[in-house]
C-alpha cells in the first residue's frame, strides 16, 4: 500500500514536470535530431564517419535536456510552492535528472536505429559513447547552474567546452568529446564517470542552497 502510494507520488511529480518543463526541451532536441540528417549525410557511413554526427550533433541534446533542470525554481513563485510541500526538493531534482537522462538515451537510440537503417556502421560502443558525451556536456552546464543560478552562463559553460573541443581536441586527452571519430573510445568512460560526479555535485549543491 505504502509502496503504491510512493509510486503514485513519483509518477505525479514526473507527469507535472514532464508536461510543464520537459516537453519544450524535448521538442527542441527532436528538432536538432531531425536537422542532423539534413546537415550531414548519414547513409552508408563507416564507424569513424558515423561517430561524427553522433558526437558533434547528437551530443548537443545533452545541453538542452540536462542544463535547465533547476530552472523552474528560478521562478520565485514556483520555488515557494515547492518549498511549501513536504516532499524534499532533492527528490524532485532527481526525478528530473532521471527523465532527462532517459530522454537522452531514447533520442540517441532512435537516431542510432535510423542510422542503422540508412546503412551506417553502428556499434554499442558508439551509442554508449554518444550518451556519455551528451551527459558530460549537459552535466557541466548543470553544475554551473547549481553554483551560479544563472541559466545563460550555464549554457555558455557547456558551449565553451564544446568550442574548445573543436579548436583543440587533441590536447584534451581523456576529456576529448570527439575522440570516437578518431577511433578512440577510451575518453567516453571518463566522460560518463565525470558526468555522474557532476550531476551528484549539482544536486548536492542545490540541496545545500535550499537548506540555507
Amino acid at each position: 500500500m505504502k509502496q503504491s502510494k510512493h509510486t503514485l507520488q513519483v509518477w505525479q511529480i514526473a507527469k507535472v514536470n514532464l508536461r510543464h518543463n520537459f516537453l519544450p526541451l524535448l521538442l527542441l532536441s527532436v528538432i536538432i535530431m531531425m536537422l542532423t540528417p539534413a546537415l550531414f549525410g548519414i547513409t552508408h557511413l563507416d564507424s569513424k564517419a558515423t561517430a561524427v554526427p553522433l558526437e558533434m550533433f547528437l551530443s548537443i541534446i545533452g545541453i538542452i535536456l540536462l542544463v535547465p533542470i533547476f530552472q523552474p525554481e528560478h521562478d520565485d513563485e514556483i520555488k515557494d510552492i515547492i518549498a511549501s510541500k513536504y516532499i524534499d526538493s532533492t527528490y524532485i531534482h532527481l526525478i528530473r535528472v532521471v527523465y532527462s537522462v532517459v530522454g537522452i538515451i531514447v533520442l540517441v537510440l532512435i537516431f542510432s536505429l535510423f542510422m542503422l537503417l540508412c546503412g551506417c556502421e553502428i556499434t554499442m560502443a558508439l551509442i554508449c559513447g554518444t550518451i556519455a558525451d551528451a551527459m558530460f556536456l549537459g552535466s557541466m552546464g548543470l553544475l554551473a547552474l547549481a553554483i551560479t543560478g544563472n541559466l545563460p552562463v550555464s549554457f555558455m559553460v557547456s558551449l565553451l567546452y564544446y568550442v574548445i573541443n573543436i579548436a583543440m581536441k587533441s590536447k584534451l586527452g581523456n576529456f576529448n568529446l570527439f575522440a570516437m571519430m578518431d577511433g578512440n573510445y577510451k575518453p567516453n568512460s571518463y566522460l560518463f564517470v565525470a558526468s555522474i560526479i557532476f550531476i551528484t555535485i549539482s544536486v548536492s549543491v542545490k540541496r545545500g542552497f535550499a537548506k540555507k
Partner: protein, 413 residues
C-alpha cells in the same frame, strides 16, 4: 547617463565574466594573442617559399578525373557538404548518370552503370581497376561543367566542387611570387592588417554566439527582478531604452575585443621597426569584421527574449552559429558568401584572396548590420506593445495552454 548605467549593469554580470573567459580561452588556445613567433620576412633567394593553390587545368584535369574514376569504381565518394566528412554511395540511377559523365570525359562507352573500354572489355567495379583516360578533346570549361554535374550527384562538397577542384592543383611558390606576396602584405596590409585579420578569424567564432547570452541576460533581468511593470511606467521611451540596452551590450562585447586585438597586434610591432605600419588596423578590423557579428547576435538575443520572455534566442542563434561555423570550415582560406555569420580567413598571408573577396565580405557585413538594426527596431515595437499591455508574449500562450489543460481535466472528471 542611462547608457552608463546599462553598461555598468552589463559589465558587472556573471555572463560578462563568462564572456571574457571565453574570449581569453579562444585567443590563448589558438595562439592569436601573441604573434611574436610569426614574423613576415622578406623572401631570401633560393629558400623554400611553400606551396600554393593555383588554377592550373593541366594539373587539375587528369588528377580529378583519376580520382573520380577510383571513387566511381568503389562507389564511394568522399564529400564535405558542411565541412564534415561524409562518405556517399550512389544508387543505381545516379551511378548510371555518373557513368555517363565519365563516358563523356573519356570517350569510353557506358552500359548499366559500368564503363566499357573496349568491345568486350567491361571494367570491374573493384577499386582502382578503371583504366580509362581523359579524352584530349575535352576543354577545361567542358571538364568543369562535367565535374559540377558529378558534384551535384554526390550532393555537394565533393572533391569535384568548384572550390575543391583547386585541391588538385598545388604548385610551388616561386621567388617572384613570394616577393609579390610580401609586397602586397607590406603595401596593402602594412603588416599589422594581416595579423588583425587572423585574430578576427578566430575571435569571430566566439563573438558570433556569446553576445546572445549577454543580451538574453540583460533582457531577462527585469523579469526575474519583477521590475517590468515599474520600468513600463517610467517616462523613458521604449526606443531610447531598447537602443541604450542594445548599445550597452555592443560596447561591453567590443571593448575587451578591441583591447585584446591591440594586445595581439602590438606583440609584432617591434619586429617591423622602420617600416610603415597601420596602427589602426586592429580597430578597423574589429569594427568592420567582428562588430556586425556581435550586432546580429545581440539583436537576435534581445528580439526573441522580448518576444517570448524565454531564453529561446540562445537556441535560435546557437543553431545558426553551429551551421555557420561548420560551413565555414570549407572556406577557411578566405572565401566569403553574402549570408555568413562569422567570416573566415585562416591564414596570416593570403592578402590577394582577401582583396579579391573584399566586396563580397563588405556586402555580407552590411547585410548583417542591416538585419541587426531591423531586429532592434522590431524589438522596440514589441517592447512598446508590451508596455501598453497589448502583448504579453509567451505568458499569454502559457496561460492558454494551462487553461486548455485544466478544461480537459475538468471534463474528464
Amino acid at each position: 547617463m542611462l547608457l552608463g548605467k546599462e553598461i555598468r549593469k552589463t559589465v558587472l554580470s556573471l555572463t560578462f565574466v563568462a564572456f571574457i573567459i571565453a574570449l581569453l580561452v579562444m585567443t590563448i588556445s589558438q595562439d592569436v594573442l601573441n604573434f611574436s613567433d610569426e614574423v613576415i620576412v622578406f623572401p631570401k633567394q633560393g629558400a623554400d617559399y611553400g606551396i600554393q593553390q593555383k588554377e592550373v587545368p593541366e594539373l587539375i584535369m587528369p588528377a580529378a578525373f583519376s580520382s573520380l574514376c577510383e571513387e566511381f569504381a568503389a562507389n564511394e565518394y568522399i564529400a564535405y557538404p558542411i565541412g564534415f566528412y561524409k562518405s556517399v554511395k550512389l544508387n543505381d540511377t545516379d551511378r548510371e548518370k555518373m557513368a555517363d559523365i565519365i563516358s563523356t570525359l573519356s570517350g569510353a562507352e557506358q552500359e548499366d552503370g559500368s564503363i566499357i573500354i573496349g568491345k568486350d572489355d567491361e571494367v570491374s567495379e573493384t577499386k582502382g581497376d578503371i583504366e580509362v583516360t581523359l579524352s584530349d578533346d575535352i576543354s577545361y570549361e567542358e571538364f568543369r561543367a562535367c565535374m559540377k554535374q558529378a558534384d551535384d550527384l554526390i550532393g555537394g562538397g565533393s572533391n569535384y566542387s568548384e572550390n575543391n577542384l583547386l585541391n588538385y592543383s598545388y604548385v610551388a611558390v616561386t621567388y617572384e611570387e613570394a616577393i609579390e606576396n610580401y609586397n602586397l602584405i607590406a603595401s596593402k596590409d602594412k603588416f599589422t592588417g594581416a595579423y588583425a585579420r587572423l585574430f578576427c578569424d578566430f575571435v569571430g567564432i566566439i563573438l558570433s554566439i556569446f553576445p546572445v547570452f549577454i543580451a538574453v541576460t540583460v533582457c531577462l533581468k527585469d523579469r526575474r527582478a519583477k521590475m517590468n511593470e515599474l520600468i513600463y511606467a517610467r517616462k523613458t521611451s521604449s526606443f531610447k531604452l531598447i537602443l541604450t540596452r542594445y548599445f550597452s551590450v555592443i560596447i561591453a562585447a567590443m571593448l575587451p575585443t578591441i583591447i585584446l586585438a591591440y594586445i595581439s597586434n602590438i606583440s609584432v610591432w617591434g619586429q617591423y621597426s622602420g617600416m610603415s605600419l597601420d596602427y589602426l588596423a586592429p580597430l578597423k578590423y574589429t569594427i568592420g569584421w567582428l562588430m556586425p557579428s556581435v550586432m546580429i547576435s545581440a539583436a537576435i538575443g534581445m528580439f526573441f527574449t522580448e518576444l517570448t520572455g524565454t531564453p529561446i534566442a540562445i537556441a535560435i542563434q546557437g543553431l545558426w552559429w553551429f551551421i555557420d561555423i561548420n560551413v565555414g570550415v570549407s572556406k577557411l582560406r578566405g572565401v566569403h558568401t553574402l549570408f555568413e555569420l562569422a567570416p573566415r580567413h585562416n591564414a596570416l598571408r593570403n592578402t590577394q584572396t582577401f582583396l579579391d573577396e573584399f566586396n563580397t565580405l563588405a556586402a555580407n557585413r552590411l547585410i548583417i548590420v542591416g538585419a541587426a538594426l531591423l531586429l532592434v527596431i522590431a524589438t522596440v515595437i514589441i517592447y512598446e506593445q508590451k508596455r501598453r499591455g497589448e502583448l504579453s508574449g509567451y505568458e499569454t500562450i502559457k496561460t492558454h495552454i494551462a487553461g486548455l489543460a485544466n478544461r480537459k481535466s475538468k471534463s474528464a472528471a
